[in-house]
Symmetry: C2
Subunit: 364 residues, 2 copies
């Protein structure tokens, strides 16, 4: 029997139906997933994972689904380059061959690539099939699996083709973190500390205090960090499901981060690594403007550095390189790049007046 440590709810009551859904955090959830997914019954399943995750966790998910149910198993090669329309087409092909219907449940077992891709495939399958997220990386657990942003990359940039499509549940099985390489764990920690920066100064302080416990992957501390991160994201998403305004604060560090990923080639820098570096740039600009103390730059830098995360951009990227890459980003509004800065610790603000000189100074 699995006992969840935390159960949160993403409240999405606007709309014809109540689309609210649970985020369950605990150990042993994958082996017992029927207990946490609404109305799974004998629903057919399209289960998408990758060849790194499959040997580790697929058997327990298959066992939990039982032997009577129709399950289409799709095991993709691991890697960001799978997150494209070609792979989405492959998923649709397989689901259609097995005659899945709109009521079929897509399941994403893996990290952000599997989650975003599977969610997008579900969103467009017969104009919208059900899906749940079974995130197995820290980054997916605290960020990409929650909130319904799905999509694939395009040659011209990340996540440019996609849909808002909410899952029916997010099951965060903490056991999956045991197999997560340190580099991936660190990348997730960048998104965790982001929530402190933009929304919750107490959480930021708590994270700094617990740096060693987090690095040591102390189970209870990690579970609390995940739960608080998900709670903040759920609250922001509930207020602004489709990124009309508030939700944009979740992109703290991401505008610069996406530029790094794009220039360096997707997958060379992990998303969380690029975000870590992007947050450092945004925090330095916030400090230069006198909005946050210089000490915050150091505290954040020390925290990220403790996990081996990069705190300076690649030396080949000039301020102009950043500007050129960011102009292609989704977060451009009427031709102006939209930046998220901190106007104090725990409060993010959107601006569009960051100068090339400010960026140059921040990356110097």
């Amino acid at each position: 029997m699995s006992i969840p440590n935390h159960t949160l709810q993403v409240e999405l009551r606007g709309g014809v139906e109540d689309r609210s859904y649970p985020i369950v955090i605990g150990r042993g959830l994958l082996a017992d997933l029927g207990a946490f997914v609404p109305a799974l019954d004998d629903v057919p399943v399209v289960l998408v994972t990758n060849d790194t995750v499959a040997p580790l966790y697929l058997p327990r998910v298959r066992a939990a689904l039982g032997t009577e149910r129709k399950v289409t198993e799709i095991i993709l090669p691991d890697g960001e380059d799978q997150k494209d329309l070609t792979t989405a087409s492959h998923i649709w092909q397989r689901a259609l061959e097995d005659r899945h219907e709109r009521r079929s449940m897509f399941m994403a077992l893996g990290g952000g690539v599997v989650g975003d891709l599977t969610g997008f495939a579900a969103a467009c399958f017969l104009r919208g099939a059900r899906f749940i997220q079974l995130p197995t990386t820290l980054l997916a657990q605290v960020d990409s699996s929650v909130g319904g942003k799905t999509g694939v990359n395009h040659a011209m940039g990340k996540n440019l083709i996609g849909a808002f499509h909410q899952p029916e549940a997010v099951l965060i099985d903490l056991d999956t973190l045991e197999s997560l390489p340190d580099r991936e764990f660190a990348a997730g920690m960048a998104e965790v500390v982001k929530y402190g920066c933009i929304c919750d100064p107490q959480f930021f302080d708590w994270l700094i205090e617990h740096t060693d416990a987090l690095r040591g992957r102390d189970g209870a501390v990690v579970a609390d960090a995940i739960a608080r991160s998900c709670a903040i994201k759920a609250e922001v998403v509930a207020k602004d499901e489709r990124e009309g305004g508030l939700r944009a604060i979740l992109n703290y560090g991401h505008t610069f981060g996406h530029a790094i990923e794009q220039v360096m080639g997707y997958g060379n820098w992990l998303h969380g690594e690029a975000v870590a570096c992007g947050m450092m740039i945004a925090t330095r600009i916030s400090a230069s403007r006198g909005w946050v103390p210089d000490a915050l730059v150091e505290r954040l830098s020390d925290f990220l550095d403790a996990f081996g995360l990069p705190v300076a951009p690649p030396s080949e990227m000039s301020a102009q390189t950043f500007l050129d890459a960011m102009a292609l980003d989704k977060k451009v509004d009427e031709g102006r790049i939209r930046y998220v800065l901190l106007d104090r610790l725990g409060r993010a603000t959107l601006v569009n007046d960051v100068s090339c000189e400010e960026i140059a100074e921040a990356i110097a």
Copy 2:
């Protein structure tokens, strides 16, 4: 100055924002479209059309958009075979190359293929861009442009990949019907009479009475027929945007019709022709069950026949051929094919117990 004959509203108030939108019906609308589209201002436009429609109507749309605005013009080859992921990708590529943003307005100038494809492209572009429908065929005007169903075909069936994405306006310029070939006009008329069958016996009677005026494309009569059709569709969509139940009645004749299109190859039978034939099958089954009088079968048959629409399926299709093709349709529910029948004229009902013998008798 264009003066609309009719302005209707699709009421979609469920949800965070009011997504209601106008359907404007009249002459000269394309040349004056800024007057009817909410907040078009200087918004950049991605304008999609095909090489049949472009020489006829593109110049007046371009003129209406002015010379200052960024307009990406995409002229596709005419034909159902364009309605696929490859063409959607091409639209995304062009829109990204021209650096369109989420606020850009996609415009679909053409028939159902252009409308469904462009709507889908807009739905997935940066997770959802704005779009409007400028339908130029009768079928698109009374059916596919209204209600937010968008999508592309898949090798395994029609419209299998798609999204619900509502336009911000539908402008039905009656002038465009002047260039519409008789066969296409007839195909649209099949959808028009469908609304009478499923929702409005007075409208059905009115259509039968006005058969000659409709065949002669009497402007005022055609405008009234379009307006009543759109009003019925708008009402059904307002009650059931995502086809949870009621909206399925709009598929009257479509389950059989899709089977014909699929078996005969998309584009060989026009969609409206296949629907005409499908309605005849569904009406014959309804009559065999004693739900509608046999006389209705004749009245409908005479009406469709007056437009040269097929009232019997292709001789090579047996009842089993239909069943095999329909099993692949989206309208399958827990493994059972869902049929729309009439339990009386003007009232549709969903059943899943139609036998192979009933189909055999209806197509005999």
